[in-house]
């Protein structure tokens, strides 16, 4: 019983009990890391993440949640398409990200990525749709990357690709109110 309890409290326990993802299946072939487009920029390659989850100890679980990798995953599904053991790695990454957020263990270099996602979702929250100008302004404020892409904006505007006024759709307001109450998996 004690064993079970302990198992459930680890990340691989969570992955198994909530999503049926069995990280023990991974036999460390490295095929995922070999094909991952973002691997070169990752601090821990995908197969290493899987290995650390298999160990099931607090230290590695924490390192995984603090890794840069989980924020760099593009959800391109290259890895899972080729994984011989059919492990849904992008889905694992999804779970790790939300857990990292919850425990506030976000990798310092990933803060801007998180800021992007938050700005994105905030824009949808306000307008129901994405309004790129609004989102980028928020993102820049959040990250202080004021000068990134400044050269692109006027061209975009000239090409008619930036809208000055947001499109609106309000039907999903309630999604957000509910989301605040319980951010469950």
């Amino acid at each position: 019983m004690l064993q079970d309890q302990k198992y459930r409290s680890t990340l691989s326990g969570t992955l198994y009990s909530k999503l049926g993802i069995h990280v023990e299946r991974c036999y460390q072939c490295g095929k995922c890391s070999a094909g991952c487009p973002a691997a070169s920029a990752m601090d821990l390659k995908p197969s290493i993440i899987l290995r650390m989850l298999q160990v099931e100890n607090e230290r590695y679980d924490r390192e995984v949640l603090q890794s840069y990798t989980i924020w760099l995953c593009l959800s391109c599904h290259t890895c899972s398409t080729r994984c011989p053991m059919e492990i849904d790695i992008p889905r694992v990454m999804d779970v790790l990200r939300s857990e990292s957020l919850r425990q506030n263990l976000i990798h310092p270099r990933a803060k801007d990525i998180v800021a992007f996602h938050v700005s994105f979702l905030n824009t949808i929250k306000r307008f129901g749709r994405l309004w790129e100008v609004g989102m980028i302004v928020e993102y820049k404020i959040r990250t202080r990357h004021f000068f990134q892409d400044v050269l692109l904006a006027p061209v975009l505007f000239l090409k008619g690709k930036l809208t000055v006024v947001p499109h609106k759709c309000v039907s999903i307001k309630q999604l957000f109110t509910w989301k605040k109450q319980e951010s469950s998996l």
Binding site: L74, D94, F116, E132, L156, S171, S184, L185
Partner: protein, 286 residues
């Protein structure tokens, strides 16, 4: 032929030429679209990066609306939106827990009757041999078809044949006279949503794509996804900065090349909005 249409955010903004070209070719191919009313954003890669259930809720709202409008076949031109909607549909039909939770919270009554189609699924149906024979122009170029990730993966969602070497786009462009070339980067990732946050990475990944396309002798890259397009087109200067090479190869939406063959002007097809000039390819085609 009538279809429901979910344009998605980027087709109204940064990739509006995609929607413009689609709307331009529609009447000539006998296509009619009914837009999903009051649609919201599908959440793209941000929602699922942060919260899974939420990433299903956003597309579920769209699907429920589509169903209310009785849209049997819903075409989703953006590959990213397509993927989110298709994943949500599977979650809703296969995962009772998620379905019940969503139903309880927002009374989303989605029964799963709406088919979700990519742009390729639609074009494949309407560009018949007869249609192709009557085209005023032919797009006789050497091209490479670029699918990126979301049109093909995960295969469980897309059901695409030959996941590492799909042929659907090739078959379509062949009917308008193009010569699709075999190449190695067809389904590699362009960096997708990291366009703003990790432009360098996008530059590197897109660099590989452009490099291979050029090496194979392609005169244009054909895409069916706004993200692929903006990364390969809009981010060209970053790519060139990262790779240290110059690339002039234009990137065209499949709807644009079809529009070309249908005799529409570059302006009608929104080609003037591109960052990389399409001049060469348009002026030398017959």
């Amino acid at each position: 032929m009538k279809f429901g249409l979910y344009p998605g955010c980027s087709l109204e903004a940064s990739s509006r030429e995609y929607l413009e070209s689609l709307r331009a070719i529609a009447p000539k191919l006998g296509l009619e679209f009914e837009e999903v009313k009051n649609w919201n954003c599908c959440g793209a890669s941000s929602a699922h990066a942060i919260d899974h259930l939420f990433s299903v809720a956003l597309p579920a709202t769209i699907l429920a609306q589509a169903e209310q409008q009785q849209l049997k076949d819903l075409v989703v031109p953006c590959a990213a939106c397509y993927s989110r909607l298709a994943i949500a549909k599977i979650e809703l039909t296969e995962n009772a827990k998620v379905r019940n939770e969503l139903q309880a919270k927002y009374h989303l009554s989605y029964t799963g009757t709406t088919n979700i189609l990519t742009i390729l699924d639609v074009l494949e149906r309407v560009i018949t041999p007869e249609v192709s024979k009557q085209l005023p122009k032919r797009f006789t170029k050497n091209v490479v078809c670029y699918y990126g990730c979301l049109l093909v993966r995960p295969q469980r969602i897309t059901n695409v044949q030959r996941v590492e070497d799909p042929q659907q786009m090739e078959e379509i462009v062949k009917t308008i006279g193009a010569h699709p070339l075999p190449w190695g980067m067809k389904t590699e990732c362009c960096g997708a949503s990291f366009s703003i946050t990790r432009t360098e990475l996008v530059g590197k990944l897109c660099g590989r794509v452009l490099d291979d396309a050029v090496c194979r002798g392609a005169e244009a890259i054909i895409v069916a996804c706004p993200m692929c397009h903006s990364n390969l087109d809009m981010r060209r200067s970053v790519i060139e900065h990262v790779t240290g090479k110059k690339y002039t190869i234009p990137v065209l939406f499949i709807t644009q090349v079809i529009g070309f063959a249908l005799g529409l002007t570059p302006a009608q097809l929104g080609m003037t909005r591109h960052f990389v000039s399409t001049e060469s390819i348009v002026s030398t085609s017959v």
